[in-house]
Symmetry: D2
């Protein structure tokens, strides 16, 4: 454990959050366009609250909170810390201002650097604090992605369709004709999935422990489903055909009057897609994105295929090399929209990491022997293990280095404001 | 008609709206803390939309809209102009920014000044435009008050209890013991109320025509009900006694779990009130404010009294001199909270104008022979004539000069975020 | 006061309630098809509860309740008696059975007859009890009408369209061409309306006291609006034209997706109406019925007319002779649908009484000097005096003898499951 | 395949449904006390609709529907048959009457017997029809249980607490002190679960195919959790401790204000339970019942245990002999409440079958290679495979012979009106 290196990673991560906000007007920081989507300002404050509450308050003697009311205002869902400020009202907090939140951030950062500098390397306190800082860094990375999805929900529903970044080239040079639906076969068997909690490197409690599962032979699609493919589903009446949908999905289609993916719109017969670089004609070669689990399920039914299980995905992904920060698959690309795949030399299954989160058919459940983090931090993951599905792989809004083969993301099957898409599977 | 004078009044009114926003942080401009309460930015834009839509677009040849989408975004409720942007989503419009809205305001102002300057005095066009500008000024004055009530709802529900202005002295030198409940008697008879639509001076269509009504002998309280008096109702179990309430009011008490007026709170047994200058111990001598019609009705029942009718109020008020801008009763006082009454020499009934809007028991209904404004502007008032009650007199957030003896404000009886209070009446 | 006569009127009224249920299957007694519409069984029980609670429990020594839990189960809205069983759950009470409720009725009747027989005529007790029995009889008559409107809501929404009675001839021999829209003029002035509470004969507290009002000259339509006339409004796009509606009405049109009156339906271009005698082609000459106040308002706007005030209606009606029980206008006709007018010799304004309740533009408010009944019975009428409009005249489902010129019925303007229609008025 | 035997089983099953209704008053047949709970009459009609729609209409030449509108009225959720009549409105169908529904039942039965008699044994048509009749019988058995749970919801919420059957002795002779929490260990390994779709005997599509799963070593409680044990959880503040609950479960606790199991109530400090034989003091030795999945999860957390997976349960149950119809565990006992366990000679794990459905932690998901029934019947099970949990074992309201070791029932984790309880598990 190298505390200097950790301090540097902390610094870089915190900076990255602020850089993501550079294109924002002050007005953009406060908007909560739906209950699930928090204002950017709240993300900036809550990630600081996390360091303050779980590290500074407990491990830095004499630490004074920046503002005692923030404990209440910026608690997300930790009942162990007290009743949180109501989630649907986050958009009403015009105060504290952005400046004050930035002050809060820097106050927390300064004291955290102080704490790290004061720790004796390899002391028990250093080990404990380092683990918490590592958790806080990963927590902040998750909120970087959420900040983007939530901002997109805001901008994407504003009739003015504001741009967050300048236009990106996302499918240049890609030959759609080559992007055919092709499956590769896997043999299955009893395989090990998950991570040993005592292994090197950071992992969340929900990835542990490493354990055996039985995977049946299966086939997995080479590419993610594209806009071009998903459009065929739309135009074939997929959103009007109840037999393709789970009952709960069909209810959602009717209640929400879904007719197409979230950010698509039709004008005079032509299809457009809102992206963080603006509103553009739908590009056929790009991966379909912002799909709910239900839409993915229905699409798979329509294709006589299915979603993979999370373990099938992990089996396919575990030996595949991840793209690097310069490969256009991650947040670092600065495009904030899934690009068409262009790397040449690779394992048979493409686009496993980055680009879009891939829905699986697996319900989010505890692994056998799952042990949540001790204390209030045990609320981080475990209490959400009902009614959600697992997604794998990361997205174009995920910071490079944040995900792994064993990484489990989770959302409710009707959720579709994340950078989520799909890869088909079949029984072998 | 003096067009120069009108242009000056236009300029002053527009400036006053912006001055009201001077204490705001950019973050405060966008918050919509409930469906009925719009963001300050929206008020600034909508009042400009009003001038653009009803004057510039129709009377200024070659006028180019500042932004064509604003017609949709900033339409409040005029179906004649097209479907408005959904009211509950006004808080999601981080764009246009405050700067852009200010640009919109100045664009509209510049062209309106140009139009006024180009009109031949007393030409039919000048007469028509002047009437519309007069309406627009009064419209903007109404939104100045709403801007304050909506901002207060935001600040008053923020756990940080931000201050909009510095602390005001509101009851200094007032002897509460003198503020006893005292009634004065009126004889009634057939009297004239309302205004002749062809008379001098501005009036809304809902005040017209002047007509006879029969008023029975009645008694009216000398003072508005104070915090001290209303607190007795609270402490006597008023909010727990269904027999005091209208059925609809009692339903509201139970649904909303009302236990006291909107901005009151109890801490360790002591009562506090949030005001726009901050959170303070409840001052007994100040008028009770932010009461719904239902709370006023229940209080009156408890006192064996009743609310006045709107015509009783008008009879009592018609010959009473209004306080001036320096008398502390109006918006111009800069205190934004109802002050205790301190003027010495006056008609028997005090506090008729300014201070707080006074609920009446009269349903908001058309006068006999009521004729709405022609065209889309006919939607201004008339279509709201159901389920609302009339309030009279203006408040500490009403600009001086805006109201008259015949002026009719109207809200739903459960509404309580306005500067509304009560004066008791009885049959003689 | 003749106690024998009162006992006989009580007997006849009670019997009439049961006769109205003669066509019902046991299954029909329990259904509550919407929150406002109670099951027939509940009406039968609640009207007995009224006699038990307000008379037997207080005036018959040693009276034993039929079942102590009924006090809770069959209380409608009297908070003075305790929290009532929740209104929206009345349809869940399969027990007590119809037989048990009939047993309850007869228990109450037997004891009430016993009480009346035991009273010394003209004793103070007799005077007090007689007044309460009179109130109970009128109360039961109101519930007879509600029983029919609520049953109709149930049957009229059952895809099987069951018949309550056999087909009635309702417009035979009526020449629609004569039923032109014709207005008669009234001079107005200061007139007396309402009733003296100490006068002979039964009246509700909300009709009192008799008092002066000023009525402006007005004109009133000779006939009620017919299906034929209302159909023109429908076909002229009345339900698609926001400018005709009050804002609250238009909101209702959109929320409820209203396209035509409640029991109308269109099949292959032809219009049908569900009546209690079944589903029939819409008869042009019949009065339009089951209209909300908002639909009546919009229709009147479309005709450049307005709804009458309740006092205009009373002025027109006070000297007009009422049709008798054999004239086809009342419940006693046994047709349970408004018939076309056929009487020859009459005042200029037809169909004032019976047929359909006539919406007025008057908000339901207390008369000057209004004094509710003492004690818990004060909740009968007074607490509903907000957000409702007054209807006048009675309907084809009102028992003969129940209404008067001064009788005030009241419903919320969006309500349309009553036998309510409209008569146009204009300023003179 | 013996068609006579099948016809007899059909006859007996149909008769059993009607016998379950023998204690009902006509009034009880129509009540729908919540959206999920259908009226008894609807169950009687819908089970007939199933035979009519999927067998008679397709396989009996010249069959005339009893009433063409019933296709719409009594369709539960098969979109392939057309839009069903809205589920929450089933309680509004006072017509058809009970008599008419019985006529419908007998019409369907008569024709189904006719069809069976006319089929050539072992002909392809006979094979196909027999499979459908078998499905229909199992379908009707499921609705027998639902009829009871739905009726109980109605009776159990009626303040009169009506009795469906006479009092049953349910815990006589059981020594609670012996019923200690004791776990038995299982080794796990790769085991086969589910059923081969081509094997003998009836099974639902969701139990197929038989396939390998990997089960980790585990421990399973000998007995179901009792009222006595669950009461300790209640009294220890289980319903006030968020850390014991899944986030979704805690939200339910707060939204629904849960403080104890569904049919428990406290009077003057003593606990009572409503059962179908009436309201009785809570019997400590009886299994806790009418628990949601969330309550079971929280209880297990509080015990440092967990719910079993559905495969752990199946492993434990597959070789255990089922109690017979006379053993008091099934519907046939006629007690309709889970009895305490009294059989002497048995496998280590008691009460696996009948008594109460046992919640598992397994999300209801398709088995690898799952193939829904062809055509519209494919909607029977598959489309509900999201957000639900699997329950195993049957209950005291399940007909004997209906369930198997592989049988999968499924409900949403907040559902608690079924006869559902829990058995604890632990990692070995």
């Amino acid at each position: 454990m190298d505390l200097d290196q950790l301090a540097e990673r902390f610094r870089v991560t915190r900076q990255q959050s602020e850089q993501l906000c550079a294109p924002l007007a002050i007005e953009d920081y406060g908007v909560q366009p739906m209950d699930d989507a928090s204002p950017p300002k709240w993300h900036l404050a809550h990630t600081s609250w996390f360091f303050e509450t779980f590290i500074l308050n407990k491990h830095l003697a004499g630490y004074q909170n920046f503002n005692n009311q923030y404990e209440y205002l910026f608690n997300s869902y930790y009942n162990g810390v007290g009743d949180p400020y109501p989630r649907p009202k986050r958009g009403f907090l015009s105060r504290p201002t952005v400046d004050e939140v930035m002050g809060y951030r820097h106050h927390v950062e300064q004291h955290l650097h102080g704490l790290l500098a004061a720790l004796a390397p390899d002391s028990p306190a250093a080990v404990e604090v380092a683990a918490l800082v590592e958790l806080g860094i990963n927590h902040e990375q998750q909120h970087q992605e959420l900040l983007l999805t939530d901002l997109k929900y805001n901008f994407g529903h504003n009739p003015l369709a504001p741009r967050y970044v300048t236009e990106g080239e996302l499918s240049a040079g890609v030959d759609l004709a080559e992007r055919v639906e092709r499956f590769h076969e896997f043999t299955g068997g009893v395989v090990q999935v998950g991570v040993d909690p005592h292994s090197e490197g950071f992992k969340f409690d929900n990835e542990c422990p490493r354990h055996d599962v039985l995977v049946h032979p299966f086939r997995l699609a080479e590419y993610l489903v594209t806009n071009s493919e998903f459009l065929q589903f739309v135009e074939d009446g997929g959103y009007q055909t109840p037999s393709l949908w789970l009952a709960e999905g069909w209810q959602t289609v009717m209640d929400q009057r879904w007719q197409h993916p979230l950010y698509w719109q039709q004008q005079d017969g032509a299809w457009f897609e809102y992206r963080l670089d603006g509103l553009y004609p739908l590009e056929p070669a790009l991966p379909a994105v912002h799909l709910s689990g239900h839409e993915c399920f229905a699409y798979a039914q329509w294709k006589n295929a299915r979603l993979p299980t999370e373990f099938e995905w992990e089996v396919a992904a575990r030996d595949v090399a991840m793209p690097g920060p310069a490969d256009g698959a991650w947040l670092e690309s600065g495009r904030f929209h899934p690009a068409a795949h262009r790397q040449a030399d690779e394992a048979p299954i493409k686009q496993l990491y980055g680009t879009v989160w891939q829905w699986t058919q697996s319900s989010y459940a505890p692994y056998p022997g799952f042990a949540p983090l001790p204390g209030t931090l045990g609320e981080y993951n475990g209490k959400f293990m009902s009614s959600q599905w697992v997604l794998r792989g990361g997205s174009c809004a995920t910071p490079f280095g944040h995900v792994r083969a064993s990484y489990r993301n989770f959302f409710y099957p009707p959720d579709r404001w994340q950078f989520s898409g799909l890869r088909l599977a079949q029984d072998a």
